[in-house]
């Protein structure tokens, strides 16, 4: 009797879970206009499609983009600050069969190998759904070098200030 009750409760719990579980499918593709050999400073765009493949509406959908560096020896999750201002889509409702298309722009800040992934969840669900990952390589680009700028930007005003100081000192000694 006890075993039957336990089985019944388990079935009830499972069925209620199945009833509320959303079914989200995520796809992500790079934009066709993306540079074939991206370098630092370039923009890349990724298009995602988030579909409600279940039979119940998804309410309070949250989808976000994550970036991971996979350069050998430098594997780490990346802070998207500077890379992207469009980091998430929030509060959207998707009816069964509906799909949400989103474009994720990204400015390539550092060189290296990277992977992006789109994740999604909703208000009533504890599951996080993820898209397949997309990997790309960002090449180094010759940009402004601080080793050249610093000596000039600090040295020249200091030189003129020194000249000014000498002139002032001499002027002071002449008058006294």
């Amino acid at each position: 009797m006890k075993t039957t009750k336990l089985l019944l409760v388990t079935i009830l719990l499972l069925s209620s879970g199945l009833a509320t579980a959303a079914s989200i499918q995520l796809q992500v593709q790079p934009e066709s206009a993306n540079p074939s050999h991206p370098t630092m400073g370039d923009w890349m765009h990724f298009n995602s499609v988030i579909s409600n493949t279940g039979s119940k509406p998804i309410e309070g959908l949250v989808a976000w983009i994550s970036l991971v560096e996979v350069t050998p020896g430098k594997e780490q999750p990346m802070d998207l600050e500077d890379w992207s201002a469009h980091k998430a889509v929030t509060g959207t409702t998707l009816k069964p069969g509906e799909a949400l298309k989103t474009q994720w722009p990204m400015r390539l800040i550092q060189s290296g190998d990277y992977r992006i992934v789109i994740s999604a969840t909703d208000r009533n669900n504890s599951t996080v759904f993820t898209s397949p990952t997309l990997q790309f390589h960002v090449s180094q680009k010759p940009v402004v070098e601080s080793t050249r700028i610093l000596p000039v930007a600090i040295g020249i005003p200091l030189l003129i200030a020194g000249l000014l100081g000498v002139r002032k000192y001499r002027g002071h000694h002449k008058t006294s």
């Binding site: 630092m40 400073g41 500077d82 400015r107 800040i109 680009k141 010759p142 940009v143 402004v144 070098e145 601080s146 050249r148 700028i149 610093l150 000596p151 000039v152 930007a153 600090i154 020249i156 005003p157 003129i160 200030a161 000249l163 000014l164 002139r167 002032k168 002027g171």
Partner: protein, 251 residues
């Protein structure tokens, strides 16, 4: 010594040997340094292409040079008047034309010093990139008439008004308006009003040439109309200074 050369030497030495001149030069170098440091302290700017950065530096050099030229020009007559040295100058055996030529050549020398001072800045941001030599050449060719034109405008107003403050403010307003393309990018100036202003604004002419030759590697022949524009500006402002300097306000 020829009085024109004598006055020109005095004006030039005011920038290198006079405390006030050195402060102006320090302000000029400070503007260029601040811009250069901004490039390496801001991640977005540090990712810009070398050619883009050299173009921006050339524009900044022109604007800062014009600013110092305006200060020097405003001081040329009104400053002498306020210091009580204009009357002795006018009663000396020097014609008003010679006085103007001396002051005008002094401004040329001062810009020459500022132009030379810009080289290390251009090199520091542009070495390793494209068209650094082009940038230096075109800064000389287009920057010189623009900067000197603003200096002569201030000189003319200085002779007419007799007040440093008044001539300085008026010239600065004209300079700020003309230099606005530095802040408003080419895309935003692509309207009828923007295009019209670009066609008559010598500052825009110089900036558009810097853009064309440094970033796009365009040939010299495509810059002739803009060269004509900046030379017209220089000629008009010098003529205005010449007319105004015939009878400077000295009371």
């Amino acid at each position: 010594m020829n009085p024109v050369t004598l006055i020109a030497q005095k004006e030039r030495s005011a920038l290198l040997q006079n405390q006030r001149g050195l402060v102006w030069l320090l302000a000029y170098a400070g503007i260029l340094s601040a811009f250069a440091l901004l490039l390496i302290s801001n991640r977005e700017l540090s990712l810009l292409d070398n050619a883009q950065v050299v173009y921006m530096m050339a524009g900044t050099v022109t604007a800062a040079g014009a600013l110092i030229a305006v200060i020097m020009g405003a001081d040329a007559y009104a400053g002498e008047r306020e210091r009580g040295t204009l009357v002795p100058l006018l009663t000396a055996p020097v014609s008003t034309g010679e006085l103007l030529m001396g002051k005008a050549l002094g401004l040329v020398s001062a810009w020459g010093i500022m132009y030379l001072l810009a080289f290390p800045y251009l090199w520091s941001v542009g070495a390793g990139g494209q068209n650094l030599g082009q940038a230096i050449f075109y800064l000389g060719l287009f920057g010189t008439p623009v900067v000197l034109g603003f200096g002569y405008l201030a000189m003319a107003l200085s002779a007419r008004s007799g007040s440093v403050m008044s001539s300085l403010l008026t010239s600065l307003i004209v300079l700020l308006f003309s230099a606005s393309p530095l802040l408003v990018g080419p895309g935003l100036r692509n309207s009828t009003i923007g295009k019209t202003l670009d066609a008559v604004n010598p500052f825009s002419g110089a900036l558009n040439t810097f853009d064309a030759v440094i970033i796009d590697s365009d040939p010299f022949t495509g810059q002739l109309a803009r060269l004509f524009l900046v030379l017209i500006w220089l000629g008009l402002m010098f003529a205005f200074a010449r007319i105004s300097a015939r009878r400077p306000v000295f009371r």
